[in-house]
Structures are given as structure tokens and as C-alpha cells.
């Protein structure tokens, strides 16, 4: 295999596996910057995956090529609705954020499978016909070396995710909304004193995380798994959560961390096709992303540097 071929295989599969993580991690960044810890990303992704697959199976015949994109949107909306549970519990009802997030994770897989059984009368869905597939940029794909590696047979959702990252970084750090959102995660009392609606901002944070997490799950289902079952989303949400922390609660950092996790995941899957990697026992490749996450957290972070009021309930006082 030529170097360019190896690199293009590596880059394209990294992109495919990173895309769902980037979307979901961006959601996590917004939620945590508003002050609400969200370990329910896994559950949110599950609902996104479930709804997008149902949508895809139902409408692929009439909508054709655009189906997976609309499916991702539907996944986002369902994820947003699902995340309302977390928002109401943590913002209005003083629930512990970790327990409430755990409820999302406990709730989503059985709910998805129950609905699949109720709709299709079986435990998992058929495979979808309209998946994201591979995408080549017209024009850019013809650039020598760079073209085949980055722009040929690549993942369109990943490019959308990267563009989203830049937009969401800009929103979080350069706009009034972003500043207000972050102030609610750092010092809600002070934010409140300045007339910022802390509850409203925190709702925004959680709902954005629900929307993006739903899209993340949908992208995973429609680009990688191709159907929905109880084991469609197993750990991607937790990986995204790790990417949030790994990326220091910053959209750009979260994206880079997700790309890294996507790379580690794809190595474990395509490793046997690559020289050098095909000599490493599969188990090391499988556990590498998780071990590396732990090692990186230990080496580069030590004490966590989350937004100061992340995970704390804010009870408005008169």
C-alpha cells in the first residue's frame, strides 16, 4: 500500500469515527459552560440514533439522497426534547446533575428498543439504504497528495462538524450570548446580579447539548452502524464527555480531542490493514483510546479545571 493510500484510508476513517464525537462533545461543551454537567450525552446520542434510523427507514424512498441529513436534524430535535428531562430536573428541581444524567443513560436504550419493538415488532431495525456514505469535494479532490488524503472519499458530516466547531467557538467566546452563557457556568450569582437570566441560559446550554448530541447519535447511526439496536451507541457518549474534559471545555479543544479519539478508534478497526499496526494484538488497539484518555488526563491536567460553577445547582435568591 502506498503512503498516500495509507494516509487517505487513515484520515477518512478517522473523520468518519470523529464526526459523531465532535457534534456530541460540542454539545457537552455548551452544557458544561452554562454550569450543567451532562453525563447523559450517551443517552441523548441513543435517542438521536434511534429517531434518525426510524426517520431514514420511513422516508428514504421519497426523500432519496437528502434523507440522512434530514434524519440527523430529526435526531437533533429528538435529542433536544429528551434533554429537557435533564434541564428541568437540574435547573428547576435541584436534582444532582450526575444522577439526572445517569437517568438519561438508563432511560434511552430501553425506550429506544421498546419503541422499535412496538413499531417494527422486532428487537432491532433493518439496515438503512440511504446512509451518509463517502463524499468527495468537487475540485479540491484533484489536488495532488492533499486531495486524495483529505478531500476524496471523506466524511461530509465530519467537515460539517469542523465548520460547526469554528462557529460555536466564535459564538462562545466572541458574542454576548456566549459570554453570558459562560458567566452562568463560572459565577451564576454574579451573572444574576447583572440581570442575566441564569435559568434561561442554562436551559439554552442543556438544550443545545441535546440538539448536538442527538445529531451526533444520528450521524453515528447513519454513517457507521446503519441500523438501531440496543448496542448501537455503546460508549460514544462517554468518549464525547471525555473529549469535553480532554479539550478543556473549549469547542476547539473538544474537536481536536474528538479527532484524536476518532483516530484511536479507527486504528483499532482498520489496524489490520495497515503495516506496522497489523502486528499489534487487537486488544491493545481496542483499549488504547481509553487508556490514553486516562494517561492524558493524569499527565496534562491533574486537578480538573471545569467552569467554576459546573455541576452546581443555582437557586435564585431575591
Amino acid at each position: 500500500m502506498s503512503l498516500v493510500a495509507i494516509l487517505s484510508l487513515l484520515v477518512s476513517s478517522t473523520f468518519v469515527y470523529s464526526a459523531p464525537l465532535i457534534f456530541t462533545a460540542l454539545g457537552g461543551v455548551y452544557s458544561e459552560n452554562s454550569g450543567i454537567t451532562n453525563i447523559g450525552l450517551e443517552g441523548i446520542m441513543t435517542m438521536g440514533a434511534f429517531s434518525s434510523i426510524v426517520f431514514n427507514l420511513t422516508f428514504a424512498g421519497t426523500l432519496g439522497k437528502i434523507t440522512p441529513w434530514l434524519g440527523a436534524l430529526v435526531g437533533g430535535i429528538v435529542g433536544l426534547i429528551f434533554s429537557l428531562l435533564h434541564a428541568v430536573a437540574t435547573i428547576n428541581f435541584h436534582a444532582d446533575h450526575i444522577i439526572s444524567g445517569t437517568v438519561l443513560n438508563l432511560m434511552a436504550p430501553p425506550l429506544g428498543v421498546f419503541l422499535i419493538k412496538a413499531i417494527y415488532d422486532k428487537g432491532q431495525t433493518e439496515n438503512i439504504n440511504q446512509s451518509f456514505g463517502y463524499f468527495s469535494f468537487p475540485g479540491l479532490a484533484n489536488i495532488p497528495v492533499i486531495g486524495p488524503i483529505f478531500f476524496q472519499n471523506t466524511s461530509a458530516p465530519a467537515w460539517v462538524a469542523i465548520i460547526m466547531t469554528i462557529i460555536l467557538w466564535w459564538v462562545l467566546y466572541k458574542t454576548r450570548f456566549g459570554l453570558r452563557l459562560r458567566s452562568c457556568g463560572e459565577n451564576p450569582q454574579a451573572a444574576d446580579t447583572l440581570g442575566i437570566n441564569v435559568y434561561g441560559m442554562r436551559y439554552a446550554g442543556v438544550l443545545i447539548s441535546g440538539f448536538l448530541g442527538g445529531i451526533g447519535g444520528a450521524v453515528f447511526a447513519e454513517a457507521i452502524s446503519g441500523n438501531f439496536s440496543v448496542s448501537t451507541i455503546v460508549g460514544q457518549g462517554f468518549m464525547a464527555l471525555a473529549a469535553v474534559i480532554f479539550g478543556k471545555w473549549n469547542p476547539l479543544g473538544a474537536m481536536l480531542a474528538s479527532l484524536f479519539f476518532g483516530f484511536a478508534q479507527s486504528i483499532s478497526i482498520i489496524g489490520n490493514q495497515l503495516p506496522f499496526f497489523n502486528h499489534i494484538p487487537a486488544v491493545y488497539m481496542q483499549i488504547a483510546p481509553y487508556v490514553i484518555t486516562i494517561v492524558v488526563l493524569v499527565l496534562f491536567f491533574g486537578k480538573s479545571v471545569a467552569p467554576a460553577a459546573d455541576g452546581q445547582n443555582y437557586i435564585k435568591s431575591k
Binding site: I99, F114, Y290, T293, V298, K318
Partner: protein, 370 residues
Amino acid sequence: MLKVTSRTKRILVPIISILAGFLIGAVIMLIWNYNPIQAYSSMFASALGNMNGIGETIREATPLIFTAIGFAIASSAGFFNIGLPGQAQAGWLASIWVVLANPNLPKVVLLPLAIITGIVAGAIVAGIAGWLRAQFGTNEVITTIMLNYVVLYSCQYLMQQVMPGSLRLDTDTTKTIAANGSLKIGWLSSFFGDSRINAGIFLALIAVVVYWYLMKKTTTGFEIRSVGTNPYASRYAGMSTKKNIMLSMLLSGGFAGLGGVVQGLGTYQNYFTQTTSLDIGWDGLSVALLGGSTAVGILLAALLFSILKIGGLGMQTIAGIPYEIVSIVIAAIIFFIAIQYVIGRLFKDKQKPDLAAAKIKNQVDNGGQK
């Protein structure tokens, strides 16, 4: 609004959460045209209606008691140990391996050896997270989640590649363990209609007492709880935070490991490849939350969960209602436990009104609008 003592309130809140969870399940069933009354009656009938059902329900509760205690100890010290599935899995594989490798040891040696190995395996997995937290301040939520996956894939590898082929039936299943290392008790099983109930339940009852004694009557328990409540004050009082972090995680992982041990030596009598994190880990977490981390609460909550789970199987076969409704009900119950503050507001304390509480209530009443 009912006026009750705070003690009654502590009991009423979980009961209302349970009822509300069942109600949510009923509503979902109604939406999808299933009959909730038929569902719940067939659930209770199959879990408690005959000796086999009762035996299976107790058997199902056994590992949950251990994993719930494991979760509760860590959370008393202020740690959210989500690594229970991995710790239990390590305990399961380790104990089965010991028994398979030494089938000829006498039971009095082999059984304790296997159990202790399982405890140690669980404790090591949790201990890694505890050590990283104590030494480097690494967030234990992330490390325990990551360790779950490390254990999941490592166990697959250890069993398929490292375990001698003579101990396995095929790549995915080990041989059945010898009676020397089993927790099975013949007369107990036959008394409960040939169910898989085993000696694990006696260990679980002992564990509940040990847990109660440890947390309520010993200095160790007191230190763990005070580190969890206020680490700064505890350090000022001369307690070592690091030591208590390590200790609570080791104990937590040890109990979770025991959960895996009874699953292996008691229920299944072998180990087979797992593709996802162990349910008993996640359920143990839920049981501890529902039981309010008290010894009696954990015991009752574990039984309730087992009734749901064993009954759910019956419900699926008898009434044709998807089993998943059970897990939805469980998640809903935990949701209501999480928002118990709201449920608690249905009742008024009988004692003279607590000023601070009244103030908070006042604030919250006005919190919705600006």
C-alpha cells in the same frame, strides 16, 4: 399538603417515586396499546407467585446488593463510582478462573480462595481510579468509565487468548465450574422450585450487616463519611484525605467484585464473553440511589428491582409486552428520586417550621419568574 414527620417523609418519598415510576410505565404502555394492568399483574405473579419465581427473584437481587453497597461506600466518601460494571466483571472472571484452574482443591480452601480473588480483582480496578484521584486529582467519573471499557476488552482478550483452551468449551464460554468452587446449594435450589438461588444470598445478608456496622459504628466509616461531607474540615481534624479516598475506592471495588463473584460462582457457574458493560453494575448504582445508601434501603430496593426484572421476563412471555418497559420504569423511578426535592414539597414537616428551609422554599417559589 400532608403534615408528616421528617422520618415518615424519608420513607414516603421513595414510595411515591416508585409509584410514579410505575405510572410512567403504565402511560407508555397505554400509548402503545398494551394493557398495563395485565402487564403489572403478570409481572408480580411471575416474580412472586410461585417458589421458583421467588427463588429467582432472590437470586437476581443477590449481586445487586453487593454492587449497590459498593456504590454507596464510594458515594459516602464523595465519589461517583461508575466503574461498578468493570469491577464486577473483573471479579467474575477472576473467581471463575481460580476455580477452573484448581478443580481438585477441597471446597473449604477453593471457595474462599475464589471469592477473595474476585474481591481483590474488583478492588484493584477501582483502586486504580482511587489512586489516580488521590495522587493526581483525576476526575473519577471519567477514569471509572474508561476503566469499564478497558476491563471489558481485556476480559475478552484474557479469556479468548490467555486462558488455557482446556478450561474453555469454545472461544466464548468457559467450562462449568466444579462443585468445589460453587455457591450452589442443592436443598436450597430444590426448596425454591429448582431455581438458581444460591449461597450468595447469605453472603449478601452478611454484607448488608457488615456495611451497616462499618459505616455507622467504626472510625473508618466515620472518616469516610466525613471526608465525603467536608474534605477540608476532615483534613483539619487530622484525617488523611488520600488514605480515605483509596480505602473507600478499594472497599467499593471489593464489594462490586463480590457482585461479580456471586454472578459467576452462584448464578451461571461459568464465564462467557461479555459484549457490553455488566447490567449488575448499572443496576447496583440505581439500587443504591433508590435505597438512599442505607443498609435496609439497599436490601429492599434490590428486591424491588429483582421483582421488576424477573417479573418483566414473565410479563414478556405471558402478556407479550416488551421487557424494556421494566428498564424504563426503573429509570423513571431513579428520575423521581433525583427530583425528590419536588416530591418532598408535597409534605410539610410536622416540627416547627425550619426557618432556613422556609426561606429556600420561598426563594424557589419565586424562582421561576423574574
